[in-house]
């Protein structure tokens, strides 16, 4: 048997000799031509190559003033490849599969099978021993670090993102609430009443029943599943084990809740096909009283509405309570995206790259990347940064362009926006304080397994698609029950749950109880 395998390999070797040569050359070239060593001294700038996802349509180049200033302050020469969001998955795949990894490799998620298997094959540096030397990084929140550990080690430098404020959660028309004499909803029952009033109570006062409670696509209503299950993320921790939300009994209740909203016309009739942009259109067009969006949107939509309705205000909900009075609001792991350094980079270079990243976590350089140069691109008033016209011209964007390397520290990126009105800003600050007290963790954060990667996407898709059909009335809830019963018996499903629990227990043992 063995012999035969080897023979097969031999015959294959001939056409493949060439590809071997190719892979062999691939790994080394970008490491060798870099100026290594002596980067500790502030003399020669360190050249750093990296590829980072950038949301902006208009991307910044190395002749930009802020870019130059950033290079000067960090004593680097930056070679950045911007990857547009629309093609990020494809590009990252080619980089990973071809081995052409930049010295500073950016990934959006550290839980993908490719990244995990590369890490276990020893492709990236274990940065744990280095990190203590970088003071600014050490000031990042504790969760940001503990949540980004893999197998108990720090292979990645997390890109900071505030723990609350992101994620899809309702923002509501405060002026409509006031007009209809309603309070901010605290439970799902309250929310139902509010959405009903938004639909039927003529909140826009034009005498026509032409508004709906909430605009959204299927993913917009995920929060309902989380509130009912009293957990963050897609897994529920019960008696020391984790269970997938999709098969939980409470998820059935949540599904029926959404169906009720749909049947009574309180949410978008075409939720199956809606996209983010159409949701935004509905709220900006004064047609829907709520949407499930990140807090950062509250000003974007309010600002647009105030062009015609000066009193309009979208306010983010601080939390929603389950029937057991457990509060829920979505949370992140304290980071969004992460950086890895391939082993082909020399140790001294690793240190200068870390130094560069560390600079960005100082308030000073972080402000530079996100807001530009003080006095040119922004001015400070009452401790807040007000952008100037020049900022637009020089493509300075909060969390975009150079701000994609390090998104802003603190909560600025979810509560502050260019041109934001003071009342909205103050309200956002209050909401964040509330949310910090109310968020629920994702128990399965950072927990992955082989079977999960292989089988879960299909299982998840099956259930999600079926939910749509139930909501639209194309399938009955009985059929849904049958599907869930069948899935629970499925061998692949069982394997996923089993492996995930093993991984979960290991992670708890390594990282402490993710608290």
């Amino acid at each position: 048997m063995k012999r035969r395998t080897r023979l097969t390999h031999l015959t294959l070797a001939v056409p493949l000799a060439f590809s071997l040569v190719l892979t062999a050359c691939g790994g080394s070239d970008s490491a060798s031509n870099q100026g290594e060593g002596e980067s500790k001294t502030s003399g020669k700038p360190t050249e750093i190559t990296t590829a980072i996802m950038n949301y902006e349509a208009d991307m910044v180049g190395e002749d930009n003033v802020v870019w130059k200033e950033l290079e000067k302050r960090t004593n680097t020469k930056l070679k950045i490849t911007w990857i547009p969001e629309a093609s990020f998955d494809e590009k990252l795949n080619v980089m990973l599969a071809s081995g052409d990894l930049p010295e500073l490799t950016y990934v959006e998620s550290i839980d993908t099978p490719q990244i995990r298997s590369l890490i276990s094959q020893g492709v990236f540096w274990d940065l744990t021993p280095f990190i203590k030397d970088y003071p600014n990084m050490n000031k990042l929140p504790k969760e940001t670090w503990s949540n980004s550990k893999i197998d108990g080690k720090q292979y990645v430098i997390p890109r900071y993102y505030p723990i609350v404020g992101g994620g899809l959660f309702p923002i509501l028309r405060q002026d409509w609430l006031d007009k209809l004499g309603l309070k901010t909803p605290e439970s799902l029952d309250d929310l139902y009443q509010v959405l009903k009033a938004f639909t039927e109570g003529d909140p826009d006062g034009n005498g026509n029943k032409d508004t709906i409670g909430m605009a959204g696509y299927l993913g917009s209503f995920n929060f309902i599943f989380n509130v009912m299950n009293e957990t963050g993320g897609a897994w529920k921790l019960r008696d020391g084990s984790i269970y997938p939300l999709i098969t939980e009994d409470k998820s059935r209740e949540a599904l029926l809740y959404v169906k009720k909203l749909y049947d009574e016309g309180l949410i978008s009739p075409d939720l199956a096909i809606l996209k983010l942009n159409q949701v935004l259109e509905a709220v900006k067009g004064n047609k829907a009283g709520a949407a499930s969006l990140s807090m950062a949107y509250s000003w974007e939509v309010t600002g647009e509405l105030r062009k015609t309705l000066p009193n309009a205000e979208f306010r983010a909900l601080p939390y929603l309570k389950s029937t057991n009075d457990v509060k829920y609001v979505p949370a992140t792991g304290g980071f969004y995206g992460a950086y890895l350094i391939p082993k082909k980079v020399s140790e001294s270079k690793v240190k200068s790259i870390l130094k560069f990243l560390d600079y960005g976590y100082s308030q000073e350089v972080n402000d530079l990347a996100n807001y530009g140069i003080k006095g040119v691109h922004y001015n400070e008033e009452n401790g807040r940064k007000i952008s100037t016209e020049q900022a637009n011209k020089d493509l300075v964007k909060v969390g975009g362009n150079l701000g994609s390397i390090w998104r802003p520290l603190g909560f600025a990126q979810v509560i502050d926006s260019v041109g934001i009105a003071n009342d909205v800003y103050e309200q956002n600050k209050k909401t964040i304080d509330e949310r910090l007290k109310s968020y629920l963790k994702d128990p399965a954060l950072g927990v992955v397994s082989d079977a999960y990667n292989k089988f879960w996407p299909d299982i998840d898709k099956k259930v999600t698609d079926f939910r749509v059909k139930v909501i639209l009335g194309q399938e009955s809830i009985d059929a849904y029950d049958q599907l869930i019963a069948k899935i629970k018996e499925d061998a692949n499903y069982k394997k996923v749950v089993e492996e995930m629990n093993a991984a979960y227990k290991q992670r708890v043992a390594e990282n402490g109880l993710g608290e």
């Binding site: 990973l96 599969a97 490719q114 299927l218 075409d270 292989k454 749509v468 639209l472 194309q474």
Partner: protein, 323 residues
């Protein structure tokens, strides 16, 4: 050339001589046509470099490919990925959807540009003809992302123009995009809208090659419009139609990934999941390189089989064929 006379005379040596003459024939043929080969050389180099060399990468369909071991050192697993694919519950669903969409395309989308070109060819007023031509080819320039966006603008339930119109007329709104019964037909209609006008270009170029005298002669002979169409215009484009038809048959397993991917949603996923979207999900989104390559390879093999069959049949019925 002169060897031809030689080998007829000595039957015993025939086999041997034929072989040798073949060799000499090849060499002299190659030499004779050397300039012709030079002409085709850049193209041949292109196919070697950008098609045949990368083909060796298809080997990873039989391995557990890991980028850091390289193609050669990755673990050899034989047909494991194929087995996993065929034993997948969804395999028949994918096959059914793929075939259904392709067959609808073959039935409606394929002949439409031909009919359109024939009709355009019959228009006497050349200004009108050019205006129509210039309009129908435009959608080709839109990428699928744009077409999908336009489809939503037209057909969506809450703000689609068609549904607004239905409402004005006092009818109930229709969820065109979430209806699994009409989903395949909608894809076909989209393809027709996008590509029909463009498809006429190639046919009209061929029709333009018809000698006008032929048509005049036929008119003198008293042939009607349809007979002229049938006997003069159609034969002129028959070759092209055959080639396109054979290629279309070979690509029956392809369904235009982007279009389906952009139009799919939970309510129709049962009829919209095809091989191409499956490959994308498992390959690009989940990074299962070997598995998705295996699925792609399966598709190609089926395609080759179909094309060979179609080509054989075409020749059997006295047509050109592709090769």
């Amino acid at each position: 050339m002169n060897t031809k006379d030689g080998n007829a005379s000595v039957p015993i040596l025939e086999a041997h001589t034929t072989k040798r003459s073949l060799h000499r024939g090849v060499w002299s043929d190659l030499k004779r046509d050397k300039y012709l080969y030079v002409l085709g050389l850049p193209g041949i180099i292109y196919f070697l470099l950008f098609k045949y060399i990368p083909f060796s990468g298809l080997i990873i369909a039989f391995e557990n490919y890991s980028p850091y071991l390289g193609i050669l050192k990755s673990q050899w697993v034989g047909f494991e990925h194929f087995q996993r694919f065929f034993s997948n519950d969804d395999f028949y669903l994918l096959l059914r959807n793929t075939l259904a969409i392709s067959l609808l395309n073959l039935l409606f989308f394929f002949p439409f540009p031909i009919i359109l070109s024939l009709l355009l060819n019959e228009v006497r007023n050349s200004v009108y003809k050019r205006v129509i031509q210039s309009i129908v080819y435009i959608p080709h320039f839109f990428s699928w992302v744009i077409i999908a966006g336009l489809t939503y603008l037209m057909l969506s339930q809450s703000e689609g123009l068609v549904n607004e119109l239905l409402e004005v007329l006092g009818m109930a709104k229709i969820g065109f995009l979430t209806n699994s019964n009409s989903f395949w037909m909608m894809l076909t209609a989209q393809s027709m809208w996008k590509e029909a006008g463009w498809g006429t270009i190639i046919f009209l170029a061929a029709i333009a090659g018809v000698d006008p005298q032929l048509s005049e002669a036929a008119t003198v002979d008293g042939a009607g419009r349809f007979r002229k169409m049938w006997h003069i215009t159609l034969p002129a484009i028959r070759n092209i139609i055959m080639i396109l038809l054979i290629l279309q048959l070979g690509s029956i397993m392809d369904t235009g990934f982007e279009q389906v991917y952009l139009m799919t949603n939970g309510a129709v996923s049962e009829v919209s999941d095809v091989f191409d979207t499956y490959v994308y999900r498992s390959g690009i989104q989940q990074g299962q390189f070997s598995y998705s390559t295996a699925v792609g390879l399966f598709k190609s093999v089926v395609g080759v089989a179909l094309i060979c069959m179609a080509n054989f049949l075409a020749k059997r019925f006295g047509q050109e064929g592709v090769f």
